[in-house]
């Protein structure tokens, strides 16, 4: 297969067949049993943290079922992008209407519904009905991060596969293999550093590797990796946090509105990043970090209760300023 037309490495090195997938042996084996006799294949629910191969496996299944023409018989939808169940319903209906017969000895078409835990309860209930009415002509692969967010009736209609964090060694090996194909010198400790920061997310790891490769010719070392990781995390969030902690509340609040307005960040995303960045601030003691985490948690909770996320964020930043000042005085 020609790979050169893919530019992002996550796509270029995405496995095309189940055999190419490493580190998920037990899952791959059970799936291959289904594929020997496609008629027996149930609906599937793939659950697990990001970057562990759920979408890849779903796409592999599509290829193995339909061969080169897989795109004709597969509908790929992302529940977090499709607004409301009506769009989903309409697209699935339209799709199963025209592709009723499937291909060869595969008597159905395939519908891959990514991030299906983003659907509301009522939308999932509606999906259950769709699955029933179109079950003779189509199979569903539901993909989600948290299976507990999928309602029981849907779960009970699917064979469930759980994906846990990828094995560190397998990830390191995978990165090295890619580096070799790209003619890169990837030092062992650099590969390990990437894997450490990726927290088991292979997509993050490969993206970090590709980004590191653009820094300079020659070896990719630990230093380059740290640089990539630093620049990829939104600097604004850490800066904002430090500004607030130093008592420059007005500036910090301005940065918050920049994050919302120009980056399109949501309130909860900013809080999540703040929590991450807080741990990296070197001049805060562990005790201080714990206290500030507590504060972040309180306002994260209020964020879910309140009406305006920018007000909760402002209040959170003000708490940081107060905290910073009281520590400054006691020293």
């Amino acid at each position: 297969m020609k790979l050169d037309d893919e530019v992002m490495w996550v796509e270029k090195y995405r496995p095309r067949t189940l055999n190419e997938i490493v580190g998920l042996n037990h899952i791959v084996k059970s799936l291959q049993v289904f594929l020997e006799n496609p008629r027996s294949m149930p609906h599937l629910l793939l659950a697990g943290i990001p970057g562990t191969g759920k979408t890849t496996i779903a796409l592999c299944i599509a290829r193995e079922l339909f061969g080169k023409k897989w795109k004709t018989f597969t509908l790929e939808l992302n529940a977090s992008d499709e607004r409301g169940i009506n769009t989903v319903r309409k697209r699935i209906k339209d799709f199963s209407r025209y592709r009723r017969t499937g291909f060869g000895n595969v008597p159905f078409s395939l519908i891959i519904l990514d991030e299906s835990d983003q659907m509301t309860g009522p939308a999932q209930t509606a999906l259950r009905r769709i699955m029933e009415t179109s079950s003779r002509t189509s199979r569903f692969i539901l993909i989600c991060n948290y299976s507990r967010k999928i309602i029981e009736p849907l779960q009970s209609r699917c064979a469930i596969f759980r994906f846990s964090k990828l094995d560190k060694n397998a990830m390191v090996e995978h990165l090295k293999k890619i580096a070799q194909k790209e003619n890169l010198m990837l030092l062992e400790e650099a590969a390990e550093k990437i894997v450490e920061y990726s927290e088991g997310d292979l997509r993050y790891a490969i993206n970090a590797l590709q980004t590191a490769a653009t820094y300079r010719r020659g070896d990719i070392d630990e230093q380059t990796v740290l640089q990539v990781v630093g620049e990829a995390s939104p600097k604004q969030v850490q800066l904002m946090l430090i500004k607030a902690h130093n008592g420059d509340f007005i500036e910090a609040r301005k940065m918050m509105y920049n994050l919302i307005g120009q980056y399109g960040f949501s309130g909860s995303e900013i809080v999540r990043q703040m929590q991450r960045e807080l741990l990296k601030v070197s001049y805060l003691s562990d005790n201080e970090k714990a206290e500030l985490t507590n504060i972040i948690g309180e306002y994260d909770f209020r964020l879910t209760q309140g009406a305006n996320s920018d007000i909760q964020l402002s209040a959170l930043l003000a708490q940081f300023s107060k905290f910073g000042r009281s520590k400054g005085e006691s020293n």
């Binding site: 990514d114 997509r203 590709q210 509105y257 120009q262 009406a307 007000i311 708490q319």
Partner: protein, 409 residues
């Protein structure tokens, strides 16, 4: 060519049915006008400005062929002046009778609440005299009748109350005008003008004309600089009063009298706290209260209005944390968020379109693209200006620019 015509004149209702809103008041007035034996010879139409009092009288005279003899506040309203205009009209009713098309006269005294000023001494007595002598119907209009002072009037005339016009009705009218003026308007823009007018149709139409006349398109950001119109206690007075109040009770009472929209108020108090409290501990405590108020706002939603009182009390507490430290400052208004989101809307659209392209190619959602992939792509493009990712994702040059700017932020 711009027609030199005020839209409020151009689109003035011609028939009674054209007058928008206040259906009950309209009916009462028309029935009074039509009836042969009136119990009271005069009516007083009262209510806020721009809700259609004068428009209704004019439309009625059009439709029923009355001739209007009019006076308004711009005339000096001494007894003499009133008599000069109204006596002939009331006494010599026969004068117009030769014309079969005219059914009669109405004496219309607009803005009668202006009669209490010094220059108008004796004005109200004169009006009562006229009503008593008049052979023809007397119609009066007032914005804000101080009912105490109008008490003598109340005995001789029927009071008809007009209310602010509901926003949807104003929106309908503004959209109709836009169609007639050949303006393509964003709904949000119309909505904002309508809301901003707070039930005042005249000011809404004036605002629309001031922003949109001669243009082909009307966008939301065009409405940004509409000043908030003061009705009773406006936003500035509310902020000023609350921030300078000496106690929670004082702030709460003021809040009670104010009729600013509470979502605007919440945002504005949040925006102005940093200017009010220089002390970081005070500031954090005040924000904590505003944050709690926001939580209550969330709980109120669209049905638990009962909970609003806690919302208001928390806001009153937030503005009076340390009354002694108050120093006057310039208020920030309109809310920063609204300004910010307007100006950055096009940028966010660009971001969304980049994310959509990534989502398509990389089998992820747009939000995952934004969170997990864009941070890397922007660095790659910084290091390698001509990386094939650009053509692979089919990014436009403006989108590349956008990603480059993200690096600097």
């Amino acid at each position: 060519m711009r027609a030199n015509l005020l839209w409020v004149e151009k689109y003035r209702p011609q028939k009674i049915s054209d007058v928008i809103g206040n259906a009950q008041a309209k009916n009462t007035f028309v029935n009074w006008l039509k009836s042969k034996r009136r119990r009271k010879k005069a009516v007083l139409l009262y209510g806020p400005a721009g809700v259609g009092k004068t428009a209704l009288v004019n439309a009625a005279s059009n439709q029923f062929n009355f001739t209007i003899v009019e006076m308004n506040a711009s005339d000096t309203r001494t007894e003499k002046a009133i008599n000069k205009v109204s006596k002939p009209a009331t006494s010599y009713i026969a004068l117009n009778k030769f014309s079969t098309e005219t059914k009669g006269n109405i004496l219309f005294l607009d803005e009668v609440d202006g009669v209490f000023g010094q220059q108008d001494r004796g004005g109200i007595g004169a009006i009562i005299k006229i009503i008593n002598k008049s052979l023809i119907p007397v119609v009066m209009a007032a914005n804000n009748p101080d009912l105490k002072k109008l008490r003598p009037l109340k005995k001789v005339c029927k009071l008809i109350r007009f209310q602010p016009i509901r926003t949807p009705l104003i929106i309908t009218m503004l959209r109709r005008i836009c169609v007639r003026e050949n303006i393509e308007a964003e709904f949000e823009a119309i909505e904002r003008i309508a809301e901003n007018s707070r039930g005042d149709m005249r000011s809404a139409i004036n605002d629309l004309q001031s922003i949109a006349e001669g243009r082909r398109f009307l966008r939301l950001q065009d409405t940004m600089f509409l000043s908030y119109r003061n009705k009773d206690i406006g936003m500035y007075e509310t902020l000023k009063g609350m921030f300078s109040a000496n106690s929670i009770v004082e702030a709460a009472i003021l809040l009670n009298r104010s009729n600013v929209k509470y979502d605007d108020l919440l945002l504005s108090i949040s925006d102005n706290l940093p200017l009010r409290y220089r002390d970081l501990v005070d500031l954090a405590n005040a924000y904590d209260l505003v944050s709690r108020a926001d939580v209550f706002r969330g709980r109120v939603g669209t049905e638990n209005w009962r909970l609003l009182r806690y919302f208001f009390n928390l806001l009153a507490e937030a503005t009076t944390i340390s009354p002694t430290s108050f120093k006057p400052f310039d208020f920030i208004f309109p809310p920063i968020r609204i300004m910010k989101l307007f100006w950055t809307k096009s940028k966010r659209m660009k971001l969304e379109s980049i994310c959509a392209k990534i989502a398509l190619k990389c089998h992820v959602s747009r939000s995952t693209a934004k969170k997990d992939i864009i941070p890397f792509i922007k660095i790659i493009l910084e290091k390698q200006k001509l990386n094939p990712i650009i053509s692979w994702l089919e990014l436009g040059s403006d989108e590349v620019d956008y990603l480059n700017k993200m690096n600097k932020l």
